[in-house]
Every structure is written in structure tokens, then in C-alpha cells.
């Protein structure tokens, strides 16, 4: 039996994790837990997948989610294929797509683009990444994964590791976790890639956190690793030095508890060595798989099916 929505989701947009209350996060995760493939649920509905910049995982997982519920997918990947390349405004593109589709999923390199499209059209819009700003369905997937393994989203000790300055996934995750109780964050990063003050200000007084440059993974329920990007460093030597200090290898994993879960939004390059994949704590491929039920639940709820 299909679970009925407990909150009003029909027709709303999903642009930023800031728009989500604790109750909404819990409601969505509960639906994601229940949802199963159903080729009738979204039959006849069309999802426009507007990827102005490419993305393997997010695009495929949204398409998979829609198809598993019987819906259809139209769209493009890369701005070259769109009328934007001919000089059409994003707002005009959105107004046109609105006439063809029931829901828009979009990724765009400019921050705020998804909010602009949501303000322009009357069908629901899901932000699948707007520049360095938000990627809410990644955060919901992260929370879903944590909840699946720990059976709770309160009372957790969570380590965020790597590039905490530019990594949007860690910003959104930290903000989402601030909706829950008894969360303690350990912010592990090189000095020049620390969590931005604007994010810390939102955590102040809500979530206790410590900042450290040491790769201390002891006594944590979740270790969330992000990639340190070479292009963020003016000096290549400095990058090599920092990169090596934040590689999660078998030795670093000796610090993990048996029930710690190791997450990564992927793609990884070399920040988690491949031999770690076999450890029971490594959950990043299950994390990416969890993106499908989360997106299935979201599509169904927003489309009011």
C-alpha cells in the first residue's frame, strides 16, 4: 500500500535545505523508507531534467527514480544542447519547459538559478545543484543513509573531513543536522579550508562543534569525507602536503569504531584508498544508491501522486 503524505508536499519546490524543517525531513525520509518501484504511480507524468552542466550520479539517479515510478524523462545535459546556447534567458527556457513537463529537475553553474526558475514557473522545481550553493537531495540522501545505519538522527557525533570551505555538501549537511538534537560536530580540515564563518554563525548556539587540523577519527558515529580540490591551492607543494594529511587509508581507519559509518558524496579521487571499500564501515556506495529512494519519494510527494 502506498503511504499517504502527512505534510503538504504537493506542488512545492525543493531548492535549499534551509527550507526544510525537522518534521519535513523526517516525513520525507519516512516516505523514502517505504517507497517501492511502482510502474503506475507516476504514469503519464513527465520530468524535465535540465542539466546545464553535466553530472553523472545526480542526473542518472533522478532519471532512475522517475522511471521506477512509471514516469517519463525529457531534457538535456550540457548547455550546448539547449536554447541557452542561442542566447535565450534561463527564465524563458523555464517558461517553455513548464508547458511540456510536470516537474523540473535542474542543475546550473550559477548560484541562485534554481530559486529563480522556481519563482518563474508554477510547476515544482527540484534543485540538483546550483553552483557552489545548494544540492538539497544530496543532503537528504546523506541523512537517509545515516538514519538507516544508526536508526536515529539525534544524539550523533559526526566528523566532517577535508574541504569544508568550498564543499557545499558539508555546509548543507551541517545546517540540516542543526535541526536535530544532541549533535556534536568535529570539523577536520586544513587551516585554509575551514568551515566558512557564515556557516559557523548558523551553528553557533545550536550545534556544538570543534575545529581541528588533526585527522582524529576516534569516537565518531559518522565520518563524512570530501575531496580536497587541487585548484583551491595557489601553491602545488602546499596542496600535496595537505592532501596527504587527509587521506583515509586502512591505517587511518584503525581509529574507527565498529559501528562508525564512513560516507563520501562521491566522486572520490584519492582521499579514500580503494582498499578501504572492503571495510564494514565503508558505506559510500550504499549512500549513492540511497539517492534513488529519496528522489523517488520526493518526486511522488511533489507531484501529489
Amino acid at each position: 500500500m502506498v503511504q499517504r503524505p502527512t505534510l503538504d508536499w504537493h506542488g512545492r519546490d525543493v531548492i535549499s535545505i534551509r527550507d526544510f524543517s525537522r518534521a519535513q525531513i523526517e516525513d520525507l525520509l519516512s516516505h523514502a523508507q517505504q517507497i517501492r518501484p511502482d510502474s503506475e504511480l507516476l504514469r503519464g507524468r513527465v520530468m524535465a531534467s535540465l542539466f546545464f552542466e553535466p553530472s553523472t550520479r545526480t542526473q542518472l539517479s533522478f532519471a532512475t527514480a522517475m522511471q521506477r515510478l512509471g514516469g517519463e524523462v525529457i531534457g538535456f545535459a550540457g548547455a550546448e544542447g539547449s536554447s541557452l546556447a542561442k542566447g535565450e534567458s534561463l527564465q524563458d527556457t523555464a517558461k517553455v519547459v513548464e508547458k511540456y513537463a510536470d516537474i523540473i529537475v535542474m542543475r546550473h553553474p550559477l548560484e541562485g538559478s534554481a530559486r529563480l526558475v522556481a519563482d518563474t514557473v508554477s510547476i515544482p522545481v527540484i534543485n540538483a545543484g546550483d553552483g557552489a550553493n545548494q544540492h538539497p537531495t544530496q543532503t537528504l540522501t546523506d541523512l537517509f543513509t545515516i538514519q538507516r545505519f544508526h536508526k536515529r538522527l539525534d544524539n550523533l557525533k559526526i566528523g566532517l573531513v577535508g574541504d569544508l570551505k568550498y564543499g557545499r555538501t558539508v555546509h548543507s549537511l551541517a545546517l540540516a543536522l542543526s535541526r536535530f538534537r544532541q549533535i556534536a560536530l568535529r570539523l577536520i580540515s586544513p587551516e585554509n579550508l575551514r568551515m566558512p564563518p557564515a556557516i559557523l554563525r548558523e551553528l553557533d548556539g545550536v550545534v556544538p562543534y570543534v575545529e581541528t587540523a588533526e585527522l582524529d577519527l576516534r569516537d565518531l558515529d559518522v565520518v563524512y569525507v570530501t575531496r580536497i580540490q587541487k585548484e583551491r591551492f595557489p601553491d602545488i607543494e602546499e596542496y600535496e602536503k595537505v592532501k596527504g594529511a587527509y587521506v583515509i587509508d586502512l591505517q587511518a581507519c584503525e581509529q574507527l569504531q565498529r559501528d562508525t559509518i564512513l560516507l563520501h558524496p562521491l566522486p572520490r579521487v584519492d582521499e579514500i584508498t580503494p582498499d578501504v571499500d572492503a571495510l564494514p564501515q565503508a558505506k559510500y556506495f550504499e549512500q549513492t544508491r540511497n539517492g534513488v529512494p529519496v528522489r523517488m519519494a520526493l518526486l511522488r510527494l511533489l507531484l501529489g501522486a
Binding site: 527564465q91 548560484e111 546550483d130
Partner: protein
């Protein structure tokens, strides 16, 4: 000795009083008063004020303020009062007030924000805090504090 500031009255126009000390030059820019302005403009800076310690003041002849201008002044001088002068008398007096939303008033400092692209969309900020001033871009969600506010002139 009377320490009160004595400056000439204007016949018709606007007096902006209780401007945060040191901000009068920015208020003049907001008012669009530049070289070549032919109306009488009186500027006082760093004068004593019972209410805010030190203050600036600007008097401009033959000028009424648009609502947008008042919003811009509220961003740099939140305690300012506006006096509308008609025939040497105060015809109307009000305090500037920062609205909860600012559309087309402040430039987003994020160069990668959609409002700084070729897309035709005015900047849009919500006021998260008035004191200290904190604005959040409706689109890219960047938080801007008072010191970083870049008013569109």
C-alpha cells in the same frame, strides 16, 4: 555657551538628520549629489547629538526622497530621521525604516550569483537581522553583513 549647531534653514526640500557619524558622504552619493548639482546642499559631520552621541546631517533644497532612496539611507544610517520642509517649516517627519525585503537596492557580492549574470533579475535580499545588519540573498543565499553592503547607486 550654547553648543547647539547653527546651520542655515532651507525653504523647501529635505533634511536628513541623525545620520550615523561619518556616513554623510555615502548619503550624498545615495541622493545622487555630485559635481554640478545646482541646489543648495548643507552637510554637517560629527556634530553632537543627544540621541546618538555624534551624528551627521544633510539638508538638500528642492528635493523629495523616493521610497527606494529612503530604504538605501536606512541601510547606512538606521537611526536617520527625514524632515520634509515646506516654506521653512517641517511639513512631515519620519524615521527611516529598513523593510524586511530589499529588491534592486543592494548588489550581491557573490560574482557567481544569478543576479550578477546576463539574466534579467534584480537583486533580492531578505533582512535576517537589523542590528547588527545581516542580509541574505534570496537567490544564492550568501549572507552579507553591514560592512560589506554594496548599495546600487
Amino acid at each position: 555657551m550654547n553648543e547647539e549647531l547653527k546651520v542655515s534653514k532651507i525653504k523647501n526640500g529635505t533634511v536628513i538628520d541623525h545620520i550615523t557619524a561619518g556616513m554623510a558622504p555615502i548619503v550624498l552619493r545615495i541622493l545622487g549629489i555630485t559635481k554640478g548639482c545646482s541646489d543648495t546642499v548643507i552637510v554637517a559631520m560629527n556634530v553632537k547629538s543627544h540621541q546618538i552621541g555624534l551624528k551627521d546631517m544633510v539638508k538638500v533644497e528642492n528635493r523629495a526622497l523616493a521610497q527606494e532612496t529612503v530604504k538605501k539611507i536606512a541601510l547606512v544610517a538606521p537611526h536617520a530621521t527625514v524632515n520634509i520642509i515646506k516654506d521653512y517649516k517641517v511639513a512631515q517627519k519620519f524615521k527611516v525604516e529598513l523593510p524586511s525585503e530589499l529588491i534592486g537596492i543592494v548588489r550581491c557580492p557573490n560574482r557567481n550569483c544569478i543576479t550578477n549574470s546576463s539574466e534579467r533579475v534584480p537583486s533580492y535580499f531578505t533582512v535576517e537581522s537589523k542590528d547588527p545588519l545581516a542580509l541574505r540573498c534570496h537567490y544564492c543565499e550568501v549572507l552579507v553583513d553591514g560592512a560589506s553592503v554594496d548599495i546600487l547607486l
